[in-house]
Amino acid sequence: MTCQCEIKNPYLPYQMEILEVVEENPEKDLKTFTLGFLNEADHGTFLYTPGQFAEISVFGTGEAPFGIASSPTEKGIVRFSVKKVGRVTTALHILEKGDLVGLRGPLGNSWPLEKFAGKNLVLVGGGFAFTTLRSLVCYILDEENRKNYGNLTVVYGARNPGQLLYKEELQDWSARPDIDIHLTIDRPVEGWWGKVGFVPAVTEQVVTSSENAVAVVCGPPVMIKFTLPVLKKIGFTSENIFTSLEMKMKCGIGMCGRCNIGNKFVCKDGPVFSMAELEKLPAEY
């Protein structure tokens, strides 16, 4: 056993200040929180990779896990987009700029960037599950990193334009030559300039080749269910399709026992899995 002085309390969160709150949808139940480290020194120790998650503490209410929506290339801040669903998210939605929260992490594995290097990337997202895909897009579009990856194709859909996250950024990306982005909504709406149709159909239209490519799919289960056969048809193998899972979590470090699927803990062995890995596990998620 090593010296006990090395052991830190893994449940002690970083102290974070809410720097900005952005309402993402007209219903106002989807908000993006930009957090800054209260103690400057902590910033250097919170080192993460796109695809990882962290536990946000709302003091007085509790803790819940969220995928990190910012990219490590965005220095000094950590960003999360949170839908108001349960107790912690409701309490978080009441907080404003200047309020303090806790942050514990980064936790879990990440998008396998080493496997993505040199490849064409197809990212398929739906609804408010686009968070860690945003992290990935921002990371790849960073000047330092862009040259390490091939073509970047993004298909992102939501029920209606109001439900798309990061609207301004999506506009910016649409104007860039180094990313091919296709936005889609379920039904036509006046003034909408993107595509109309479900994500799987749009994916089939715009993604023509799986050559030297990997695909990443994040969205509601029904979207994933119908997108997978499309990707397979285009030629993607299970080894080259990745997704991220959500589970009820508490500890986030593989001890509390609730987020396992078979012998894999989503918090520790995930949240990112290849379809090949998931095919070996029961669909208990």
């Binding site: 006990q4 449940y11 003091f59 509790g62 303090l100 508490k250 596990l281």
Partner: protein, 344 residues
């Protein structure tokens, strides 16, 4: 191998009281419990095992992990909660429970994540076990290949040889104690007696209750018709998990007043419906069927795959205390495990 006269041992144990707290099996109304011992005579005739396992010496049923202050107009102050552990001797632990500590170590003291509170308590605790001579009817350690004379997980294991104890160490800490008086090297006669006892227990441990099928593909194990059946009488009360020496699932929740808060960890159970229920209402294990399958497979498939050991030590508490007589041994036998009926 060492030995000590029983009288001398209890005198020595009493001598430890100055520096350490001692928990020993004490008879209460319903049975034995690990309770503080202050030196009076211990009544151990009829002691097979304690009602509750030893896990709460390291992983208490309830404990604060962090605390915080939320004073108006001031930033929230967050502090780690100090586990404030005292040096402890656990006396009278049975070999099955001692082994369970090693299993919990793999979870709470892993290569990547270490639980500070668990570690501090573990390092502060000295485990003195008592080998079993007469297992209870619900005991099945030997069917899992665990000897009632096993020293694994104990700092010192004592084996009853009449007026004296044979003493074996499984740790350096234990070995250091045994090298000094009042312990003395075992006489050839004592060693012979121990070997005879070992021979008897080895004979009994011929069968393995761990089913072969569980080392196969999960996709096949997961859909066995047995799961549709065995959960029906289960009440999902969770008593099996609370009394299990290796069950370690927990919940984390905040307890707060207007200005203060504590983030606490408390035992939880995979047998409860809300254990895995998402905030959205979706539940990957919605019925007793999925939950009992999880409990059995976690112990006998997932844990062995992740930590290279079955997460059951055969203490039989879950069998003894289940209100509807759910018997894990029956499940294992139906899955193909063999039990030597001689040992029951």
């Amino acid at each position: 191998m060492y030995e000590i006269l029983k009288d001398d041992f209890f005198l020595w144990l009493k001598g430890q009281l100055g520096q350490k707290e001692i928990l020993a099996p004490r008879l209460k109304e319903e049975g034995y419990l690990f309770l503080p011992w202050d030196g009076e005579e211990l009544e151990l005739t009829g002691y097979t095992n304690t009602l509750k396992p030893v896990k709460d010496a390291f992983f208490p049923q309830w404990e604060a992990l962090i605390r915080y202050r939320m004073d108006k107009g001031k930033p929230v102050q967050v502090m780690g909660e100090n586990p404030a552990t005292k040096p402890l001797i656990l006396f009278g632990v049975r070999p099955c429970d001692a082994r369970s500590i090693l299993l919990l170590d793999r979870v709470f003291n892993g290569p990547k994540y270490k639980d500070q509170h668990y570690r501090e308590r573990r390092e502060n605790t000295f485990v003195i076990s008592l080998a079993c001579s007469e297992p209870a009817s619900t005991c099945f350690c030997q069917d899992l290949g665990i000897s009632p004379l096993a020293k694994e997980g104990s700092d010192i294991l004592l084996v009853d040889l009449g007026d004296k104890f044979l003493a074996l160490a499984d740790t350096l800490k234990g070995e250091e104690i045994l090298q000094e008086r009042p312990f003395s090297p075992a006489t050839p006669g004592s060693m012979d007696k121990f070997q005879a006892l070992q021979g008897v227990s080895r004979q009994a441990a011929a069968a393995s209750l761990v089913p072969e099928i569980l080392s196969g593909e999960l996709s096949q194990v997961f859909v066995l018709p047995l799961w549709d059946e065995i959960y029906r009488k289960c009440l999902n009360c969770g008593v099996c998990t609370y009394l299990c020496p290796t069950c370690h699932c927990f919940d984390i929740s905040d307890e707060t007043t207007d200005t203060e808060g504590r983030r606490v960890r408390s035992w939880d159970s995979c047998m409860f419906g809300n254990f895995t229920q998402h905030g959205s209402g979706h539940n990957p294990r919605p019925t007793g069927k999925e939950r009992i399958r999880q409990r059995v497979l976690h112990k006998f498939k997932y844990f062995p795959e992740n930590y290279l050991a079955v997460a059951c030590v055969g203490c039989g508490r879950c069998v003894a205390k289940c209100p509807v007589n759910f018997d894990i041994r029956e499940v294992l036998k139906r899955l193909g495990g063999c039990q030597d009926d001689m040992s029951m």
